[in-house]
């Protein structure tokens, strides 16, 4: 990746290298309510779900996904409270029902599957930004799950991808406000992964 250059000409600090999340993050990173940006059952909630696959087509049971998105009103400031804690017991309180933090975290299950519950992103940024972590993945990957949001304008990234590549970024609508978004780390129909400059 080409590092950004400062206009002052002062050299940038060299970054700390990434390392794999490994297999044993499961008791540390996932938290109760992590996959639910909004309370389950809220009528305007959507479910984004899918499976993470490796290069042989096998599901990956030890991947961790994070999703970040704009608020439905278009703002990107987020809000604290994704891991809201009880100051008395130290336990997890669950999110405040009226605060949308924009962030979800979910570990894949034994079948490589995941599901998150959130609100549809705005037409100005009709996607969930996704970070993928896994044992075997030395540096996490970024991708996007685009949702078929009303009024979404032509998207520069989608517009320049060949149709079969573009398809890997499109969440497919199903019944009951669900959208399927699979992640293929390698091989046939490999997901388009992003580098941000």
């Amino acid at each position: 990746m080409t590092p950004p250059q400062q206009t002052s000409g002062q050299p940038l600090l060299p970054p700390t290298p990434a390392q794999t999340v490994g297999p044993f993050y499961g008791y540390a990173l996932p938290f109760p309510g992590g996959p639910e940006a909004v309370p389950p059952g809220r009528p305007d909630a959507i479910t984004v779900h899918g499976v993470v696959y490796d290069g042989s087509g096998a599901p990956i049971p030890d991947a961790l996904l994070e999703f970040w998105q704009a608020d439905p009103d278009g703002t990107r400031s987020g809000a604290p409270g994704s891991l809201r804690r009880d100051p008395v017991t130290g336990g997890f309180l669950g999110r405040h029902p009226h605060v949308f933090t924009g962030f979800t975290r979910v570990a894949t299950d034994a079948d490589g599957g995941y599901a998150v519950h959130t609100l549809a992103p705005p037409s100005s940024a009709p996607y969930l930004a996704v970070a993928v972590f896994a044992r075997g993945l030395l540096h996490h990957l970024y991708t996007r799950a685009y949702l078929p949001v009303d009024g979404a304008a032509d998207d520069a990234l989608l517009g320049r991808l060949a149709p079969e590549r573009r398809a890997t970024l499109l969440a497919v609508p199903g019944p009951d406000r669900t959208y399927r978004f699979d992640v293929r780390l390698q091989g046939e129909n490999e997901t388009v992964f992003l580098e941000h400059a």
Binding site: P17, Q19, Y27, A70, S77, G78, L83, T191, L194
Partner: protein
């Protein structure tokens, strides 16, 4: 075909490092991060993309902002991994602290830092860790804190043990603490591992060696700092962290 030997893995590690040195001599840029496809780390074989990454340089990208965390998301107990149970954990008590900066040297303030680690015997509190070393009922090994106004984090914990794994015959991980960091943007997200100075296992470990640039690899190793050692209590280690990646403020300031 049996499991690979350390000899084979070490040969592959040397080849990857020589390949990087040759590329550098030919004018290739410094590689700060590991290659996702790194032969000596066998689990990477089927878990990295073959297509080049698609470059996004969009000033409106959602990834240039990121999730925020606050005092609602952590408790005072979270940063002291030795105080999460009734008794004291076994092992050498340590204090780990450092400053989180962006590449321009600005402190990353009020952001979430998460750690997890094996106990002093090299065993994770995880059902799938089959290493027959003892669990410690007084140690879970997970912690969180927010960086302060100078970007600093501090944890009290115990020094984790080395542990065996299945990459190859006689594979052992050097002692390490896993770190997860959020910056000012989703593009600054970092998951990494901190190592302890002078560990004899460094040369044998394909995960550490996946960082083929010598200077970059050295940045994963904490420094023992006697001034951070707390009398009658803990040994001190300092590990500063620099987050990569652009942010919205970076672009506003004309640095894109």
């Amino acid at each position: 075909m049996g499991d690979p030997t350390q000899e084979l893995i070490s040969k592959e590690i040397a080849e990857a490092r020589d390949g990087y040195a040759a590329a550098r001599a030919g004018g290739a840029p410094e590689g700060h991060h590991p290659d996702r496809g790194y032969l000596p780390y066998r689990s990477s074989a089927l878990r990295h993309p073959h297509n080049p990454l698609e470059r996004v340089a969009d000033p409106d990208a959602v990834e240039l902002s990121g999730p925020v965390f606050g005092v609602t998301d952590v408790t005072d107990w979270d940063a002291d991994l030795t105080a999460q149970h009734v008794g004291e954990p076994l092992g050498e008590r340590i204090t780990v602290t450092g400053q989180v900066l962006d590449r321009a040297g600005r402190p990353v303030r009020g952001q979430l830092v998460e750690i997890w680690q094996a106990n002093a015997s090299g065993r994770y509190a995880h059902q799938r860790d089959r290493h027959p070393a003892p669990l410690d009922p007084n140690f879970t090994g997970a912690g969180r804190c927010l960086t302060d106004d100078e970007g600093r984090y501090t944890f009290t914990t115990v020094k984790p043990g080395a542990y065996p794994w299945r990459n190859h015959v006689n594979a052992w991980r050097p002692a390490h603490i896993h770190f997860s960091l959020f910056g000012a943007a989703f593009t600054q997200r970092l998951v990494t591992q901190m190592y302890f100075p002078g560990d004899p296992l460094f040369a044998y470990d394909p995960i550490l060696q996946s960082v083929t640039d010598d200077a970059a690899r050295q940045r994963l190793v904490a420094a023992y700092d006697h001034d951070l050692s707390v009398p009658e209590f803990s040994l001190g280690y300092r590990w500063d962290i620099v987050l990569d990646g652009p942010t919205a403020t970076w672009i506003e300031e004309g640095r894109a």
